[in-house]
């Protein structure tokens, strides 16, 4: 039997593509190497009674157009906005964050009266950049080197977005996109802890430090999403991040699509320059009119397609695509809520993101360790306890703690020598550095631990399939964004092999649990197949 579309990998983008294709009438099969679906958006019970969001852990970027088109709420998806957060300072202080504007201003003013007010102007400016970029998310990037009407049309669309701004704002925006977040924040703020808090989004998932130019864009990448229209807000998926892919799977099956788990692909079959299906590791062949890979471009093209089927230039470009991992993750089952010494009783800060890095310098030094092939000795952690809000993930009174950690290099050791693979001992030492850091701010925390899962780039690559453990399936620098993502000329979700497509975060607009790459790929596939994307609503206008 021949499928219309075979999707490799049941991550959120692969499932989004599959859903749209199935709704357009295609016979769709999704195959997944793991015994479960979800890719990096999963809920896993690794210790009895405790559900972990053991990869991605918060939601904001997932496009609301997709949730609506695919009826995800009907298939069980609930996004819960979360509140608060804190940066703990050396010496026992902290900076809290509150959803209430005035409480937040008063809190910032404890650290700097000026910064508390500068924050409003800063937020306004970042919101302006978000409003500019949001309309680009659900569009295929143009190829500026071609003169096809569609490419010219898309270029004009971008041109129109730009020309709607004043000269001053364009200049500002170019500055913002090319700057380091550290330099950018210096224009607004004076308090080191406030700057450290605001720089967080600029480094999450990236192989840049807060002082690297281009990191301000990464901040935008984390701010351009929304929860119910609140741009920049983040939330939890009720039941863990796996609820997103679970709802997608359910939506897919409701429209007739199939999913096969435990089916690792060995090779994409290519005949006469066209992809005709895949061979699984167990030798089974699956035939399809088109194959769509949700794996990153490196894994897809360098591991599963024979090099002779690809032009040399293309292979060279794919090899240059940077997927250096920079993050690790600790997933912890706790017998009780940890008590952070600095937080007053009843503070809502514990319901949000918790950090222990109180200056940009410390963040940057953590990055220096990574550059030298070492995990950060004093790591940056983004700690969340989703069970403070979501009652479904653990038994009552128990908690799940998610610790996202930077930096963790893809290889350990001397870079001039090329480095070596992580060992279990390295992984455990990395875990210790993280746990000890938390213990310093929450004495007694370690005694509450029932189970810990430590994940370095090695584990992320092995389980989720992310090359070098890069959570964005490719770094978010300008040389790998927009029409350069994943490689120039092939930013339109196509590959040099006919009927072989890419739909994961390696493609525009990049990583995060966004679904946009998957939807954009589906749109291109349907256009090629001359099928009507009738269930694909237009991107919502920005008012």
């Amino acid at each position: 039997m021949t499928y219309d579309a075979l999707i490799l990998g049941a991550g959120h983008n692969g499932l989004v593509t599959a859903c749209y294709l199935a709704r357009a009438g295609m016979k769709v099969l999704v195959i997944e190497k793991n015994d479960w679906v979800g890719g990096a958006a999963v809920s896993r019970e690794l210790t009895p009674g405790f559900t972990y969001s053991n990869c991605s852990y918060v939601a904001s970027l997932f496009r609301p157009e997709i949730m609506r088109d695919l009826e995800l709420p009907r298939h069980g998806l609930q996004i819960l906005p979360y509140e608060g957060g804190a940066v703990f300072q050396e010496g026992g202080g902290y900076l809290g964050m509150y959803r209430d504007h005035d409480a937040n201003r008063r809190e910032f003013a404890r650290h700097s009266a000026r910064d508390a007010e500068a924050y409003d102007v800063y937020s306004r400016d970042v919101l302006r950049y978000c409003r500019f970029i949001r309309p680009m998310l659900l569009r295929t990037p143009p190829d500026p080197a071609r003169f096809r009407p569609r490419d010219i049309g898309e270029l004009l669309f971008i041109g129109k977005q730009v020309s709607g701004l004043s000269e001053r704002q364009i200049a500002d925006m170019v500055r913002f996109w090319t700057m380091s977040i550290s330099d950018y924040l210096d224009h607004y703020f004076e308090s080191p802890v406030i700057k450290a808090y605001l720089a967080v989004s600029a480094i999450i998932g990236t192989a840049l430090g807060p002082m690297s130019p281009g990191s301000a864009y990464v901040l935008l990448h984390h701010y351009m999403g929304d929860v119910d229209g609140n741009i920049g807000a983040w939330g939890f998926a009720r039941g863990g991040m796996g609820s997103i892919t679970k709802a997608l799977s359910s939506s897919l099956q409701a429209s007739g699509g199939e999913i096969r788990t435990g089916a690792p692909v060995a090779r994409v079959l290519v005949k006469n320059g066209r992809s005709i299906g895949v061979v699984l590791e167990n030798g089974d062949e699956i035939r399809a009119k088109r194959v769509i890979s949700n794996m990153d471009v490196k894994r897809t093209m360098l591991k599963h397609v024979e090099e002779r089927e690809l032009p040399g230039d293309y292979v060279a470009s794919v090899k240059k695509f940077k997927t250096r991992g920079s993050s690790g993750k600790l997933n912890i089952a706790l017998d009780a809520a940890p008590k952070f010494a600095a937080l007053p009783e009843g503070s809502p800060a514990i319901k949000g993101d918790l950090h222990f890095t109180d200056s940009i310098e410390k963040m940057e030094r953590a990055y220096d360790d990574w550059k030298a092939g070492h995990f950060s000795r004093d790591p940056f952690q983004d700690v969340m306890i989703p069970t403070m809000i979501d009652p479904t993930m653990t038994p009552p009174g128990k908690h799940f703690m998610s610790c996202f950690v930077q930096y963790a290099p893809p290889k350990i050791g001397d870079l001039a020598e090329g480095g070596r693979d992580w060992t279990d001992a390295d992984r455990d030492a990395f875990g210790e550095a993280c746990l000890n850091q938390i213990e310093r701010y929450a004495p007694g925390f370690r005694n509450l631990i029932r189970h810990v899962e430590i994940r370095t780039p090695r584990e992320l690559e092995a389980e989720v399939g992310l090359t070098e453990g890069n959570i964005f399936q490719g770094e978010l620098t300008f040389d790998q964004l927009l029409f350069n993502r994943p490689v120039p000329r092939y930013a339109n979700y196509r590959t040099p092999v006919r009927d072989l497509w890419i739909c994961g975060s390696s493609t525009h607009p990049g990583g995060g649990v966004m679904g946009a790459p998957g939807r954009n790929a589906a749109s291109e596939i349907l256009r090629d197949a001359k099928l009507s994307p009738k269930d694909m609503s237009d991107a919502w206008p920005v008012l």
Partner: protein, 404 residues
């Protein structure tokens, strides 16, 4: 130049339990607030209505009223360059402001777009207070760079009450404060209790009225003292609903309601220049450079203003709040920023922003959706441009003030 860094810092770290701060008068306003109607104002709880907005508005025009204006943002500017500083910052010439005098002013960013309006009090040769709606600390500090001044946010150090209404002078006299000779936009200081109260003849109602400024620890005694003195004259506390009605009758504009302060405008086209909101009269062109001057000169000389702020008279008695204005009933020409049926004037009035070419308001119509028993009825009515203030009684200027 320096700023007190932790001024707004509450003593305890539990402010998340009280997201809105309370003013020094809160114990009294809370006790008097029969409806417990509160709204946020600049991070403070402020009473919207104590029991009956109509009666509160009537008291503003008939008797005397107290309105807690402590949330007003207040900056103190002192030092040898204070005049140069305020002249660089604001549109008017502070050099022409006498000690003991107050003026209404506004300030702009580099592009000549309005950031806020407010009042400047000259407390001494080198000593000023700036009162406004919005917080501006970063901009004020940036503007002070290179100048020898000291800037302090004294919002929390000063309680303030507006005592407004035709009988307000009588109430003050009854309370033992000598303000008979006090002219509009002047201030004086009177001893009170263990300290003193500063009284300025200023206000936001367009009526006879005063504003009283006092240390927070004397706030409650002052409230009690005034309430006692005014007991025979119908003195009552009023909420923001009544005051907003009065300010509209007086034709005053409010930051954030009639125009968006440029520093908060996400959409660039929402910013307005002084020309575009009718504040160009205050620009002191000949005082030397000030921020925005070159942009404003270009706008003046190039006649490039995009908008005009107008007062409107609308037939009938249905408030035009939130309505859109059309030229010839078809083309969108502007929108209403504030509107009400004026109980004082017995007219249906509004403030609107219209595109500059419709400044005359000829052939402009307003589309009003009147909600009547769950159903909107659409009205398309012609409007007439009207001078502001809509209401300007003689008594507001009379010195000495009349008894009633």
């Amino acid at each position: 130049m320096s700023a007190a860094p932790h001024l707004n810092a509450p003593p305890a770290l539990t402010h998340f339990t009280t997201p809105l701060a309370q003013t020094p008068f809160h114990p009294r306003t809370e006790a008097a607030n029969r409806l417990q109607g509160w709204a946020p104002w600049a991070g403070y709880m402020t009473a919207t209505c104590f029991g009956d907005s109509t009666m509160e508005h009537t008291a503003i025009r008939n008797a005397a009223t107290l309105y807690d204006i402590s949330p007003m943002v207040k900056y103190r500017i002192t030092g040898p360059d204070a005049v140069a500083y305020l002249n660089r910052l604001t549109l008017r010439d502070v050099g022409r402001l006498a000690v003991g005098q107050v003026h209404y002013t506004a300030w702009c960013d580099d592009q000549g777009k309005v950031m806020d309006d407010g009042t400047v009090f000259r407390l001494g040769p080198d000593d000023f207070r700036l009162c406004c709606q919005e917080r501006h600390l970063p901009w004020l500090l940036d503007s002070a760079w290179g100048l020898d001044i000291r800037l302090r946010d004294e919002t929390e150090d000063l309680a303030a009450l507006a005592l407004q209404g035709p009988v307000s002078a009588t109430v003050l006299a009854q309370a033992g404060f000598d303000i008979q000779a006090l002219k509009p936009f002047r201030m004086t200081t009177c001893p009170f209790d263990t300290g003193e109260v500063m009284i300025s003849r200023t206000g936001f109602t367009g009526d006879l009225g005063y504003e009283l400024w006092i240390s927070p620890d004397l706030a409650l005694p002052l409230w009690d003292h005034l309430m006692q003195a005014g007991a025979l004259y119908g003195l009552m506390p009023v909420g923001s609903e009544a005051v907003m009605l009065a300010r509209l009758e007086a034709g005053f504009i409010t930051t954030g309601m009639d125009f968006v302060p440029v520093q908060h405008a996400v959409r660039e086209d929402r910013a307005r220049s002084p020309f575009e909101i009718g504040l160009d009269w205050m620009i002191a062109w000949d005082k030397g450079h000030f921020t925005g001057r070159r942009a404003l000169m270009a706008e003046r000389d190039g006649k490039s203003s995009q908008w005009a702020l107008v007062g409107l008279d609308i037939p009938g008695n249905v408030s035009a709040e939130g309505a859109i204005l059309y030229f010839d009933k078809r083309r969108e020409a502007g929108f209403i920023t504030a509107a009400c049926w004026s109980p004082t004037l017995k007219r249906n009035i509004a403030i609107a922003q219209v595109e500059a070419r419709y400044d005359s308001c000829d052939h402009l119509w307003v589309e009003i959706y009147a909600l009547r028993e769950l159903q909107y009825q659409k009205l398309m009515l012609p409007v007439t441009k009207t001078a502001r203030p809509f209401f300007a009684p003689e008594r507001r200027r009379a010195t000495p003030p009349g008894r009633f």
